[in-house]
């Protein structure tokens, strides 16, 4: 059931039903995610950012493509590498930045950091745990809730190909098929699980074909082409919404940077990295596509970029001005009944 999306099919409707405004929006999101990732890494390397960074660079086509198919009330279960998918779902950049600096306006009020971002109460995204396969069973639960209530909603979970080696991944796929849950399984196959390449993670040619074993379709798509990703994700989302059960999407790209900020990723062959950066850059490719189809011109692209840079700078200022949590709140918010999360937190922590 694993199929490559043919070029012919892509040509037939290159814009996949998206309007000019939506296409421009997709470009904005791709460029936002790229710019955010680059600036955050620069700040990290300058020693101006606490914690760790998990770059999603090179994989924006996957992140934006799958996330753009979701409605506001659909849920997403991303990993810490999928901030781009969360930004596409609409998370407030200011609050994301506050989270990176451990401030009270972050989504976790300083209880978690960096890209362990989630906004369940707003944009219905799960706050990731570092044990990445754990999100898959939880997505089953959200999907079960939609099914039980007869809602036309979808849960989408994202993980890397490394997580597919783990038992929880297989458990969740199996249960989702048994109970025909409205869930979309996305595997961001960026070719390297930390330093481990695909052949040391699985002995089948593709992740997508594993879907056969569970009894639902699996699709492999080129993560460099955001519209192809969007197309297959939309089919999967529609299928789930129609009560036809799960789909597995394997979107292939390359992780351009190391596993985390500390990792120079010397295990990635130089030629491979150059090939992907020069010929399979999802952001550049989509920008060129829109220019070629005259959906945007150079001026529009320039304005989008300026808007993004302004937005980042504002987010940075917002984060620096946001207070730290007060130390005496360290034990609060463990239990629901202590009321910490129902009220406004103290803003007396200073900005140090």
């Amino acid at each position: 059931m694993a199929t490559e999306v043919s070029e012919k099919q892509a040509e037939a409707d290159w814009r996949v039903g998206l309007s000019d405004d939506q296409l421009k929006d997709v470009l904005y999101k791709l460029k936002l995610c790229r710019y955010f990732d680059e600036r955050i890494e620069a700040l990290y390397r300058q020693g101006r950012l606490p914690g760790a960074i998990y770059s999603g660079r090179g994989q924006e086509g996957t992140h934006v493509g799958v996330a753009y198919t979701l409605r506001e009330d659909d849920s997403m279960f991303p990993t810490h590498r999928d901030l781009s998918a969360q930004l596409t779902k609409g998370l407030d950049l200011n609050r994301v930045m506050a989270q990176y600096w451990g401030r009270i306006d972050g989504f976790t009020r300083g209880r978690d950091g960096n890209s362990h971002v989630g906004d369940w109460l707003g944009h219905k995204t799960w706050t990731p745990v570092s044990h990445l396969p754990l999100a898959y069973p939880i997505a089953c639960g959200a999907a079960l809730a939609y099914k039980r209530r007869g809602e036309q909603r979808v849960a989408m979970a994202i993980c890397g190909e490394g997580a597919t080696s783990n038992g929880r991944w297989h458990e969740a796929l199996n249960v989702s098929a048994v109970h025909r849950l409205p869930v979309v399984w996305v595997v961001n196959n960026n070719l390297w699980a930390y330093s481990t390449p695909n052949p040391l993670e699985f002995a089948v040619p593709t992740v997508a074909e594993r879907a056969v074993a569970y009894g639902f379709p699996g699709v492999r798509v080129d993560g460099a082409d955001v519209l192809d990703v969007y197309r297959v994700a939309l089919q999967a989302v529609d299928r789930a919404r129609a009560g036809e059960g799960p789909t597995l999407i394997e979107s292939v790209s390359l992780r351009w940077r190391g596993h985390a900020g500390h990792d120079p990723a010397k295990y990635v062959p130089k030629e491979m990295l150059e090939e992907y950066m020069q010929h399979k850059d999802p952001v550049k490719r989509f920008e060129e596509l829109l220019l070629a189809h005259e959906v945007v011109d150079a001026e529009v692209v320039k304005r989008i970029q300026e808007r993004i840079e302004r937005q980042f700078d504002e987010g940075y200022e917002f984060a620096q001005a946001s207070p730290f949590p007060v130390p005496s709140d360290v034990t609060r918010g463990l239990w629901v009944e202590d009321g910490y999360w129902q009220g406004e937190p103290s803003r007396d922590g200073g900005t140090g």
């Binding site: 009020r109 069973p137 079960l144 239990w335």
Partner: protein
């Protein structure tokens, strides 16, 4: 509420039907737990059950016998043998407004869902502000010749995962009232049902639909002035038997049943120690870093001024639960061991 041991009926697998209340309103622990679930499902449509073989079969110990006929397969959901996903589904559906109660066939198998419990469920509210009203039920404890993989007391593991409430009732009424409280609680709760108690202990159990036992509150089951035994679960029953024997020897033992292991009711424990000045902490989880280790440390730290003797612990050694009856009896604290420990404390 007189408590009696039910002599008949195996405490092991639930091949036998769950049974019914007696004409005088006495219910076993097993029946009391089933009543709690049934009443909460009647009360609140968001409550549903999931687990292995809980539907047509009625669960490994027959707690959910007959539930599927009343509530249907969606609310009494049989799952594949996939414990991480059972917990994960409980989490995800709770995030979307349901109040799941997941059954593990034995508490031992909670290790197969451990990561979702301690990494995902326990920490989620602290990190995100999202309530997770889930209950994870597991038959725990030894004394039924079920060996290493069907006899554990894993409560310390979960008490050590901040964000989980850990409940270990010893009596049918407490089991019913605590389970109902857990279902209504907005935090994740682990509910340990001691399988030795299931069909052995019965008492008159309240029938009021809103009968609740508060989480985090211990109960003094027997008043005494000489020594406090602080315990929970099956050990409560052994402690009460020992207390009766010791009373004949002139030692008045107070038995404090924690009922909830986490959060711990330190106030009731300290009040008892203040009265008796001697404390035996009796527990069925391993002695080393078991629940009683924390209780003993707490008494030593906060109740030192009341003590006339060192705080003493009585608990199983740090080995897996063995099978052969003489070995398991040597492993588990026995009534005679408890009496000896109390006499030693009294001699101070």
């Amino acid at each position: 509420m007189a408590t009696a041991r039910v002599e008949s009926g195996a405490a092991g697998h639930g091949a036998e039907p769950r049974g019914k209340r007696t004409e005088t309103g006495e219910a076993t622990y097993l029946i009391a737990i089933a009543e709690a679930l049934w009443e909460e499902m009647e009360r609140d449509e968001r409550v549903y059950l999931l687990g292995e073989d809980i539907g047509a079969y009625g669960g490994a110990f027959k707690v959910t016998e007959g539930f599927i006929d009343r509530f249907g397969p969606e609310r009494v959901m049989d799952t594949p043998i996939a414990e991480e996903t059972i917990v994960g589904m409980a989490i995800g559906s709770a995030m979307e407004g349901f109040r799941p109660v997941a059954e593990f066939q034995y508490a031992d198998f909670m290790t197969s869902g451990f990561d979702e419990i301690v990494t995902a469920a326990a920490r989620y509210h602290y990190r995100s502000g999202v309530p997770l009203p889930i209950v994870l039920r597991g038959p725990s404890g030894g004394g039924v010749r079920a060996s290493s993989f069907h006899s554990t007391n894993p409560e310390p593991w979960f008490a050590h995962a901040p964000g989980m409430k850990v409940l270990c009732p010893a009596f049918p009424s407490d089991a019913k009232g605590l389970l109902k409280s857990a279902v209504r609680d907005d935090n994740p709760c682990v509910f340990f049902e001691h399988k030795w108690i299931y069909r052995r202990i019965k008492e008159v159990v309240p029938e009021e639909p809103d009968f609740l036992v508060p989480i985090g509150r211990a109960k003094v089951h027997r008043d005494g002035t000489d020594v406090s035994i602080v315990t929970y679960g099956m050990m409560v029953h052994l402690a009460l038997e020992a207390a009766e024997n010791l009373f004949q020897k002139g030692i008045a033992v107070e038995v404090v049943d924690l009922r909830t292991v986490h959060p711990l009711d330190t106030e009731t424990v300290l009040k008892s120690v203040e009265k008796t000045s001697r404390a035996l902490v009796l527990y069925e989880s391993h002695r080393f870093l078991g629940v009683g280790a924390e209780v003993a440390a707490m008494i030593a730290e906060e109740g030192f001024q009341h003590l006339d003797a060192p705080v003493m612990r009585l608990a199983p050694p740090n080995v897996p639960v063995p099978f052969s009856p003489p070995l398991e009896d040597a492993y588990l604290p026995q009534v005679a061991d408890i009496e000896a420990a109390v006499e030693k404390l009294s001699a101070w």
